[in-house]
Symmetry: C2
Subunit: 207 residues, 2 copies
Protein backbone atom coordinates (compact mmCIF):
# COMPACT_ATOMS: atom_id res chain seq x y z
CA UNK A 1 0.00 0.00 0.00
CA UNK A 2 1.01 3.62 -0.35
CA UNK A 3 1.34 6.16 2.39
CA UNK A 4 -2.21 7.50 2.01
CA UNK A 5 -3.69 4.13 2.82
CA UNK A 6 -1.32 3.61 5.71
CA UNK A 7 -2.53 6.92 7.06
CA UNK A 8 -6.19 6.06 6.62
CA UNK A 9 -5.96 2.66 8.21
CA UNK A 10 -4.17 3.93 11.30
CA UNK A 11 -5.65 7.39 11.65
CA UNK A 12 -2.18 8.92 11.71
CA UNK A 13 -1.74 12.00 9.46
CA UNK A 14 0.74 11.66 6.62
CA UNK A 15 3.07 14.41 7.92
CA UNK A 16 3.23 12.60 11.21
CA UNK A 17 4.05 9.34 9.48
CA UNK A 18 6.88 11.09 7.69
CA UNK A 19 8.07 12.47 10.97
CA UNK A 20 8.05 9.00 12.52
CA UNK A 21 10.05 7.71 9.58
CA UNK A 22 12.66 10.39 10.12
CA UNK A 23 12.67 9.74 13.86
CA UNK A 24 13.38 6.07 13.27
CA UNK A 25 10.15 4.81 14.78
CA UNK A 26 8.99 3.28 11.54
CA UNK A 27 11.15 1.47 8.98
CA UNK A 28 11.19 2.93 5.47
CA UNK A 29 8.86 1.41 2.93
CA UNK A 30 10.19 -0.75 0.13
CA UNK A 31 11.34 1.54 -2.64
CA UNK A 32 9.97 0.65 -6.07
CA UNK A 33 11.48 3.72 -7.68
CA UNK A 34 13.44 6.73 -6.41
CA UNK A 35 10.34 8.41 -5.13
CA UNK A 36 7.86 5.61 -4.67
CA UNK A 37 7.67 3.18 -1.81
CA UNK A 38 5.14 0.74 -0.60
CA UNK A 39 4.27 -0.41 2.86
CA UNK A 40 2.94 -3.67 4.21
CA UNK A 41 1.03 -4.99 7.17
CA UNK A 42 4.14 -4.81 9.30
CA UNK A 43 4.09 -1.05 8.86
CA UNK A 44 0.46 -0.85 9.88
CA UNK A 45 1.19 -2.89 12.95
CA UNK A 46 4.30 -1.00 13.90
CA UNK A 47 2.51 2.30 13.51
CA UNK A 48 -0.29 1.11 15.79
CA UNK A 49 2.26 0.02 18.34
CA UNK A 50 3.92 3.42 18.23
CA UNK A 51 0.59 5.15 18.74
CA UNK A 52 -0.26 2.91 21.66
CA UNK A 53 3.04 3.72 23.34
CA UNK A 54 2.71 7.44 22.68
CA UNK A 55 -1.01 7.93 23.33
CA UNK A 56 -1.72 5.39 26.03
CA UNK A 57 1.67 5.14 27.66
CA UNK A 58 2.54 8.80 27.27
CA UNK A 59 6.03 7.87 26.10
CA UNK A 60 8.18 10.47 24.42
CA UNK A 61 9.37 9.86 20.90
CA UNK A 62 12.88 9.03 22.03
CA UNK A 63 11.65 6.70 24.77
CA UNK A 64 9.47 4.99 22.19
CA UNK A 65 12.44 4.51 19.90
CA UNK A 66 14.45 3.08 22.79
CA UNK A 67 11.69 0.61 23.64
CA UNK A 68 11.36 -0.48 20.04
CA UNK A 69 15.09 -0.99 19.75
CA UNK A 70 15.27 -3.10 22.89
CA UNK A 71 12.33 -5.10 21.56
CA UNK A 72 14.12 -5.87 18.36
CA UNK A 73 17.27 -6.90 20.14
CA UNK A 74 15.60 -9.44 22.41
CA UNK A 75 16.84 -12.98 22.12
CA UNK A 76 15.18 -16.09 23.43
CA UNK A 77 16.27 -15.34 26.99
CA UNK A 78 13.34 -14.08 28.96
CA UNK A 79 15.39 -11.60 30.95
CA UNK A 80 16.55 -10.12 27.70
CA UNK A 81 12.98 -9.76 26.57
CA UNK A 82 12.20 -7.98 29.80
CA UNK A 83 14.77 -5.33 28.95
CA UNK A 84 12.11 -3.65 26.87
CA UNK A 85 10.44 -2.42 30.02
CA UNK A 86 13.74 -0.98 31.21
CA UNK A 87 13.54 1.84 28.76
CA UNK A 88 10.66 3.26 30.73
CA UNK A 89 12.67 4.96 33.43
CA UNK A 90 11.97 8.31 35.10
CA UNK A 91 12.65 11.58 33.35
CA UNK A 92 14.39 13.82 35.87
CA UNK A 93 16.65 13.52 38.87
CA UNK A 94 14.73 13.15 42.11
CA UNK A 95 15.08 15.47 45.08
CA UNK A 96 17.49 13.75 47.45
CA UNK A 97 16.44 13.96 51.06
CA UNK A 98 15.79 11.83 54.12
CA UNK A 99 12.35 10.79 52.87
CA UNK A 100 13.87 9.39 49.70
CA UNK A 101 16.64 7.51 51.49
CA UNK A 102 14.06 6.06 53.84
CA UNK A 103 11.82 5.09 50.95
CA UNK A 104 14.65 3.24 49.25
CA UNK A 105 15.22 1.10 52.33
CA UNK A 106 11.53 0.43 52.50
CA UNK A 107 11.53 -0.77 48.90
CA UNK A 108 14.47 -3.09 49.54
CA UNK A 109 12.72 -4.50 52.59
CA UNK A 110 9.51 -5.09 50.70
CA UNK A 111 11.32 -6.95 47.95
CA UNK A 112 13.24 -9.03 50.46
CA UNK A 113 10.20 -9.77 52.59
CA UNK A 114 8.31 -11.06 49.57
CA UNK A 115 11.23 -12.94 48.18
CA UNK A 116 10.91 -11.16 44.88
CA UNK A 117 13.68 -11.56 42.33
CA UNK A 118 14.19 -8.02 41.13
CA UNK A 119 17.46 -6.78 39.75
CA UNK A 120 19.05 -3.72 41.32
CA UNK A 121 19.00 -2.08 37.93
CA UNK A 122 15.24 -2.32 37.49
CA UNK A 123 14.07 1.31 37.27
CA UNK A 124 10.81 0.36 38.94
CA UNK A 125 12.77 0.27 42.20
CA UNK A 126 13.64 3.93 41.86
CA UNK A 127 10.15 4.76 40.68
CA UNK A 128 8.57 3.10 43.66
CA UNK A 129 10.96 4.77 46.08
CA UNK A 130 10.28 8.16 44.61
CA UNK A 131 6.52 7.72 44.82
CA UNK A 132 6.80 6.58 48.42
CA UNK A 133 9.01 9.52 49.27
CA UNK A 134 6.41 11.93 47.94
CA UNK A 135 3.80 10.14 50.00
CA UNK A 136 5.68 10.53 53.26
CA UNK A 137 6.67 14.13 52.51
CA UNK A 138 2.97 14.83 52.20
CA UNK A 139 2.40 13.32 55.61
CA UNK A 140 0.52 10.33 54.27
CA UNK A 141 2.58 7.81 56.15
CA UNK A 142 -0.61 6.08 57.22
CA UNK A 143 -1.15 5.08 53.59
CA UNK A 144 1.86 2.79 53.73
CA UNK A 145 -0.08 -0.30 54.85
CA UNK A 146 -1.96 0.02 51.57
CA UNK A 147 1.32 -0.66 49.83
CA UNK A 148 1.11 -4.27 50.94
CA UNK A 149 -2.34 -4.61 49.39
CA UNK A 150 -0.99 -3.19 46.15
CA UNK A 151 1.91 -5.60 46.26
CA UNK A 152 -0.47 -8.50 46.84
CA UNK A 153 -2.44 -7.45 43.79
CA UNK A 154 0.67 -7.06 41.65
CA UNK A 155 1.91 -10.46 42.73
CA UNK A 156 -1.41 -12.10 41.92
CA UNK A 157 -1.55 -10.49 38.50
CA UNK A 158 2.00 -11.40 37.54
CA UNK A 159 1.12 -15.05 37.11
CA UNK A 160 -1.46 -14.79 34.33
CA UNK A 161 0.56 -11.99 32.77
CA UNK A 162 3.64 -14.14 32.42
CA UNK A 163 1.42 -16.96 31.16
CA UNK A 164 0.27 -14.72 28.39
CA UNK A 165 3.80 -13.72 27.45
CA UNK A 166 5.11 -17.28 27.41
CA UNK A 167 2.13 -18.38 25.35
CA UNK A 168 3.40 -16.43 22.34
CA UNK A 169 4.69 -18.61 19.54
CA UNK A 170 7.93 -16.69 19.00
CA UNK A 171 10.36 -14.33 20.65
CA UNK A 172 9.21 -11.23 18.81
CA UNK A 173 5.67 -11.90 19.93
CA UNK A 174 6.84 -12.32 23.50
CA UNK A 175 8.78 -9.08 23.46
CA UNK A 176 5.85 -7.18 22.03
CA UNK A 177 3.50 -8.68 24.56
CA UNK A 178 5.78 -7.55 27.36
CA UNK A 179 5.73 -4.03 26.03
CA UNK A 180 1.98 -3.79 25.48
CA UNK A 181 1.19 -5.53 28.74
CA UNK A 182 3.44 -3.13 30.60
CA UNK A 183 2.29 0.06 28.97
CA UNK A 184 -1.35 -0.65 28.23
CA UNK A 185 -1.68 -2.67 31.41
CA UNK A 186 -0.88 0.43 33.43
CA UNK A 187 -3.63 2.33 31.70
CA UNK A 188 -6.13 -0.47 32.21
CA UNK A 189 -5.31 -0.80 35.87
CA UNK A 190 -5.42 2.93 36.39
CA UNK A 191 -8.85 3.30 34.81
CA UNK A 192 -10.25 0.30 36.62
CA UNK A 193 -8.97 1.59 39.94
CA UNK A 194 -10.67 4.92 39.42
CA UNK A 195 -13.95 3.28 38.55
CA UNK A 196 -13.83 0.80 41.42
CA UNK A 197 -13.01 3.65 43.77
CA UNK A 198 -15.93 5.73 42.61
CA UNK A 199 -18.21 2.76 42.86
CA UNK A 200 -17.13 1.84 46.36
CA UNK A 201 -17.32 5.43 47.53
CA UNK A 202 -20.81 5.83 46.08
CA UNK A 203 -21.92 2.66 47.76
CA UNK A 204 -20.65 3.84 51.13
CA UNK A 205 -22.30 7.20 50.64
CA UNK A 206 -25.64 5.48 50.20
CA UNK A 207 -25.43 4.11 53.73
Amino acid sequence: MRVAELSQRTGVPIPTIKYYLRAGLLPAGELTSPNQAHYGETHVHRLRLVRALVEVGGLSISATRAVLEKMRGADSQLHSIGKAQFALGPRTEPHEDAALADARTRVDELIERRGWLVRESNPARAGLAEALAHLTRLGHGDALPLLERYADAAQTLADPEVDLVLGRPNVDGMAETVVTLTVIGDALMSALRRMAQESEATRRLAD
Copy 2:
Protein backbone atom coordinates in the same frame (compact mmCIF):
# COMPACT_ATOMS: atom_id res chain seq x y z
CA MET B 1 9.77 31.90 56.32
CA ARG B 2 11.06 33.65 53.24
CA VAL B 3 11.18 32.27 49.74
CA ALA B 4 14.76 30.99 50.05
CA GLU B 5 13.82 28.69 52.89
CA LEU B 6 10.70 27.54 51.08
CA SER B 7 12.93 26.66 48.17
CA GLN B 8 15.45 24.80 50.32
CA ARG B 9 12.89 22.77 52.19
CA THR B 10 11.11 21.59 49.07
CA GLY B 11 13.99 21.41 46.62
CA VAL B 12 12.13 23.62 44.18
CA PRO B 13 14.21 26.44 42.64
CA ILE B 14 13.11 29.98 43.44
CA PRO B 15 12.36 30.92 39.82
CA THR B 16 10.10 27.90 39.61
CA ILE B 17 8.32 28.91 42.80
CA LYS B 18 7.74 32.32 41.32
CA TYR B 19 6.39 30.68 38.20
CA TYR B 20 4.00 28.55 40.23
CA LEU B 21 2.80 31.66 42.05
CA ARG B 22 2.05 33.32 38.75
CA ALA B 23 0.37 30.19 37.45
CA GLY B 24 -1.94 30.09 40.44
CA LEU B 25 -0.65 26.80 41.79
CA LEU B 26 0.55 28.38 45.00
CA PRO B 27 -1.18 31.15 46.99
CA ALA B 28 0.81 34.35 47.51
CA GLY B 29 2.69 34.74 50.76
CA GLU B 30 1.49 37.15 53.41
CA LEU B 31 2.84 40.57 52.52
CA THR B 32 4.60 42.37 55.34
CA SER B 33 5.69 45.23 53.10
CA PRO B 34 5.38 46.01 49.40
CA ASN B 35 8.24 43.73 48.52
CA GLN B 36 8.43 41.31 51.39
CA ALA B 37 6.22 38.33 52.06
CA HIS B 38 6.45 35.37 54.29
CA TYR B 39 5.27 31.84 53.80
CA GLY B 40 4.05 29.20 56.21
CA GLU B 41 3.77 25.45 56.48
CA THR B 42 0.72 25.48 54.24
CA HIS B 43 2.94 26.78 51.46
CA VAL B 44 5.48 24.03 52.03
CA HIS B 45 2.75 21.44 51.93
CA ARG B 46 1.04 22.86 48.89
CA LEU B 47 4.32 23.04 47.03
CA ARG B 48 5.04 19.39 47.83
CA LEU B 49 1.60 18.45 46.60
CA VAL B 50 2.20 20.30 43.35
CA ARG B 51 5.52 18.54 42.83
CA ALA B 52 3.94 15.16 43.51
CA LEU B 53 1.26 15.81 40.91
CA VAL B 54 3.75 17.10 38.37
CA GLU B 55 6.64 14.69 38.93
CA VAL B 56 4.87 11.49 39.89
CA GLY B 57 1.56 11.99 38.14
CA GLY B 58 3.02 13.68 35.10
CA LEU B 59 0.24 16.27 35.20
CA SER B 60 0.58 19.46 33.21
CA ILE B 61 0.54 22.78 35.03
CA SER B 62 -2.99 23.54 33.91
CA ALA B 63 -4.23 20.08 34.87
CA THR B 64 -2.59 20.53 38.25
CA ARG B 65 -4.34 23.84 38.72
CA ALA B 66 -7.65 22.25 37.78
CA VAL B 67 -7.16 19.45 40.29
CA LEU B 68 -6.26 21.88 43.05
CA GLU B 69 -9.30 24.00 42.31
CA LYS B 70 -11.65 21.04 42.42
CA MET B 71 -10.01 20.00 45.68
CA ARG B 72 -10.67 23.34 47.24
CA GLY B 73 -14.27 23.35 46.10
CA ALA B 74 -15.14 19.99 47.59
CA ASP B 75 -17.93 20.00 50.15
CA SER B 76 -18.81 17.25 52.56
CA GLN B 77 -20.49 15.17 49.88
CA LEU B 78 -18.26 12.33 48.87
CA HIS B 79 -19.16 12.50 45.22
CA SER B 80 -18.10 16.11 45.23
CA ILE B 81 -14.77 15.15 46.75
CA GLY B 82 -14.35 12.59 44.01
CA LYS B 83 -14.58 15.32 41.42
CA ALA B 84 -10.91 15.98 42.00
CA GLN B 85 -10.06 12.86 40.05
CA PHE B 86 -12.20 14.06 37.17
CA ALA B 87 -9.68 16.64 36.16
CA LEU B 88 -7.40 13.84 35.05
CA GLY B 89 -8.96 13.18 31.67
CA PRO B 90 -7.19 12.28 28.44
CA ARG B 91 -5.33 14.86 26.41
CA THR B 92 -6.33 14.35 22.79
CA GLU B 93 -9.26 13.08 20.79
CA PRO B 94 -9.12 9.34 20.18
CA HIS B 95 -9.16 7.72 16.77
CA GLU B 96 -12.77 6.69 16.16
CA ASP B 97 -13.09 3.26 14.60
CA ALA B 98 -14.81 -0.08 15.05
CA ALA B 99 -12.31 -1.18 17.68
CA LEU B 100 -13.14 1.83 19.82
CA ALA B 101 -16.90 1.41 19.49
CA ASP B 102 -16.50 -2.21 20.40
CA ALA B 103 -14.33 -1.36 23.37
CA ARG B 104 -16.91 1.08 24.69
CA THR B 105 -19.56 -1.64 24.72
CA ARG B 106 -17.15 -3.94 26.46
CA VAL B 107 -16.56 -1.33 29.16
CA ASP B 108 -20.29 -0.85 29.69
CA GLU B 109 -20.76 -4.59 29.94
CA LEU B 110 -17.97 -4.95 32.46
CA ILE B 111 -19.42 -2.23 34.65
CA GLU B 112 -22.88 -3.74 34.44
CA ARG B 113 -21.70 -7.26 35.07
CA ARG B 114 -19.90 -6.20 38.21
CA GLY B 115 -22.69 -3.97 39.39
CA TRP B 116 -20.32 -1.02 39.66
CA LEU B 117 -21.78 2.40 40.25
CA VAL B 118 -19.82 4.53 37.82
CA ARG B 119 -21.19 7.73 36.36
CA GLU B 120 -21.32 8.08 32.59
CA SER B 121 -19.20 11.18 32.93
CA ASN B 122 -16.29 9.46 34.65
CA PRO B 123 -13.35 9.91 32.27
CA ALA B 124 -11.94 6.57 33.33
CA ARG B 125 -14.62 4.97 31.16
CA ALA B 126 -13.21 6.65 28.07
CA GLY B 127 -9.67 5.92 29.17
CA LEU B 128 -10.38 2.25 29.62
CA ALA B 129 -12.17 2.02 26.29
CA GLU B 130 -9.29 3.69 24.51
CA ALA B 131 -6.72 1.38 26.07
CA LEU B 132 -8.81 -1.65 25.15
CA ALA B 133 -9.19 -0.40 21.60
CA HIS B 134 -5.43 -0.14 21.23
CA LEU B 135 -5.10 -3.66 22.57
CA THR B 136 -7.47 -5.15 20.02
CA ARG B 137 -6.01 -3.12 17.16
CA LEU B 138 -2.69 -4.67 18.04
CA GLY B 139 -4.24 -8.10 17.79
CA HIS B 140 -3.96 -8.79 21.48
CA GLY B 141 -7.57 -9.83 21.87
CA ASP B 142 -6.41 -12.85 23.85
CA ALA B 143 -5.30 -10.48 26.60
CA LEU B 144 -8.90 -9.54 27.33
CA PRO B 145 -9.47 -12.26 29.93
CA LEU B 146 -6.72 -10.55 31.92
CA LEU B 147 -9.01 -7.56 32.17
CA GLU B 148 -11.18 -9.48 34.60
CA ARG B 149 -8.22 -10.17 36.83
CA TYR B 150 -7.32 -6.49 36.78
CA ALA B 151 -10.89 -5.62 37.65
CA ASP B 152 -10.84 -8.09 40.53
CA ALA B 153 -7.71 -6.44 41.85
CA ALA B 154 -9.14 -2.94 41.49
CA GLN B 155 -12.29 -3.99 43.27
CA THR B 156 -10.35 -5.54 46.13
CA LEU B 157 -8.18 -2.45 46.54
CA ALA B 158 -11.07 0.00 46.51
CA ASP B 159 -12.22 -1.05 49.95
CA PRO B 160 -9.12 -0.14 51.99
CA GLU B 161 -8.61 2.91 49.79
CA VAL B 162 -12.02 4.30 50.62
CA ASP B 163 -11.41 3.41 54.25
CA LEU B 164 -8.34 5.58 54.22
CA VAL B 165 -10.17 8.50 52.65
CA LEU B 166 -13.09 8.32 55.07
CA GLY B 167 -10.68 8.09 57.97
CA ARG B 168 -9.55 11.68 57.43
CA PRO B 169 -10.74 14.08 60.11
CA ASN B 170 -12.00 16.74 57.71
CA VAL B 171 -13.16 17.34 54.18
CA ASP B 172 -9.97 18.97 52.98
CA GLY B 173 -8.00 16.00 54.19
CA MET B 174 -10.37 13.66 52.38
CA ALA B 175 -10.10 15.56 49.14
CA GLU B 176 -6.33 15.61 49.31
CA THR B 177 -6.21 11.91 50.09
CA VAL B 178 -8.34 11.19 47.06
CA VAL B 179 -5.91 13.12 44.89
CA THR B 180 -2.73 11.59 46.25
CA LEU B 181 -4.21 8.12 46.33
CA THR B 182 -5.29 8.46 42.72
CA VAL B 183 -2.11 9.95 41.36
CA ILE B 184 0.57 8.39 43.54
CA GLY B 185 -1.38 5.15 43.74
CA ASP B 186 -1.03 4.74 39.98
CA ALA B 187 2.72 5.11 40.26
CA LEU B 188 2.94 2.64 43.13
CA MET B 189 0.86 0.07 41.33
CA SER B 190 2.78 0.53 38.12
CA ALA B 191 6.15 0.03 39.78
CA LEU B 192 4.97 -2.94 41.80
CA ARG B 193 3.53 -4.59 38.71
CA ARG B 194 6.82 -4.24 36.89
CA MET B 195 8.75 -5.74 39.75
CA ALA B 196 6.31 -8.59 40.31
CA GLN B 197 6.42 -9.33 36.59
CA GLU B 198 10.18 -9.44 36.52
CA SER B 199 10.24 -11.64 39.58
CA GLU B 200 7.69 -14.09 38.24
CA ALA B 201 9.38 -14.23 34.85
CA THR B 202 12.77 -14.85 36.42
CA ARG B 203 11.31 -17.61 38.54
CA ARG B 204 9.81 -19.34 35.52
CA LEU B 205 13.06 -19.01 33.63
CA ALA B 206 14.83 -20.85 36.39
CA ASP B 207 12.70 -23.92 35.69
